[in-house]
């Protein structure tokens, strides 16, 4: 299934990239602009397909998480570096508070990265001024990761639905902010598969804090 969905995209993304690199020949400005739009849309479609495949695997109980030593600071810095240009583009400060001498977790590096990417991406997306902060700290048997923003915030009546698939507060937001509407539900389920918990605190108009607790050593479910 996953192979069939992604194979056509491989060629759309690939050939668009080749044309944009002008390996075949020069493009005029309008051609470049339109090919750039194809590239943007195909990137978004890939994101959507990856998310839908993840959520369907999770719901079918088929998603397996790995167990490997994960250095959380390295993962956090990598994700921060990836989203830094987005923050910069919006004039936001991106801060990371990471503790010294953190022991590696026993977890799934790729999935931890995916969770942090979703949370930081959201925080930047829904914040127009101020800062986004990621704070990692020990919390007993767990490690706590907080992603704190000074963004639009979430009304109390929406907090319960926030982690449901395809929930975005209104269509206008989806248009304005993009995204698949699956990021938070995937993050919640992945966190749980890794033996952890995720929680949100928010004040409408003031900002949100997403808190993820991951066990240092994964409990056997």
């Amino acid at each position: 299934m996953s192979h069939e969905l992604r194979t056509p995209l491989n060629s759309i993304i690939g050939f668009t990239g080749i044309l944009l690199q002008e390996l075949v020949g020069p493009l005029n400005p309008e051609q470049k602009k339109q090919m750039g739009m194809v590239r943007g849309s195909s990137g978004h479609l890939l994101e959507l397909i990856n998310d839908v495949l993840d959520i369907s695997k999770i719901e079918a109980g088929q998603l397996q998480v790995g167990h490997e030593p994960v250095d959380l600071n390295t993962v956090a810095l990598k994700v921060a570096a990836t989203v830094q240009p987005l923050a910069q583009k919006k004039g936001l400060t991106l801060n990371c508070e990471l503790p010294d001498g953190l022991e590696p977790l026993s977890s799934d590096r790729r999935r931890v990265e995916q969770i942090l990417m979703n949370l930081l991406g959201n925080a930047i997306k829904f914040t127009d001024a101020g800062e986004v902060r990621m704070r990692v700290s020990p919390a007993g048997p767990d490690i706590r990761i907080e992603v704190i923003d000074t963004g639009i915030g979430i009304a109390p009546e929406h907090l319960d639905h926030l982690f449901q698939p395809f929930f975005q507060i209104d269509i206008g937001l989806t248009r304005k902010y993009g995204g698949t509407g699956l990021g938070l539900s995937i993050s919640k389920r992945l966190t749980e598969l890794l033996g952890g918990r995720i929680r949100v605190d928010s004040v409408l108009g003031r900002g949100s804090t997403f808190t993820v607790l991951l066990p240092r050593v994964e409990a056997i479910p």
Partner: protein, 124 residues
């Protein structure tokens, strides 16, 4: 550096795409559409690098890698798997079969050639 690269892939569009990029950067490409043909072509062409799809008809990419690795004449040739958005364990399976690395599909045309040439310069 101009290299000889064998690409084992059953999907014609992917074959065209990757071949085009590699040739555009001056490499010589040998093509095979399944594992058995891949091993045969490798023995004839003695490439500098082997790229292979994991989901091949009949003998899959893991088994093809093991067969390639069993040929003393091909020892030392880097083998790189092209995998669909790796799930937990895919990379480990590819490495356990004898691959030297993997590149995820959809390939990123902006970084693909750099990733490939990395494996060429690492070769003994």
């Amino acid at each position: 550096m101009k290299a000889k690269i064998l690409y084992i892939e059953d999907n014609e569009t992917n074959m065209y795409l990757v071949t085009f990029i590699l040739q555009a950067w001056g490499h010589e490409v040998f093509q095979a559409s399944d594992g058995a043909e891949g091993v045969k072509t490798a023995l004839g062409a003695r490439p500098d690098l082997i790229l292979l799809d994991i989901q091949l008809p009949g003998m899959d990419g893991y088994e093809t890698t093991r067969r390639l690795r069993a040929e003393p004449d091909l020892a030392g040739i880097p083998i790189v798997a092209l995998t669909s958005y790796a799930m937990a364990g895919d990379k480990e399976k590819a490495m356990a079969a004898g691959c030297d690395g993997y590149i995820e599909k959809p390939i990123n045309p902006d970084t693909f050639i750099t990733e490939i040439e990395q494996f060429l310069s690492d070769a003994p």
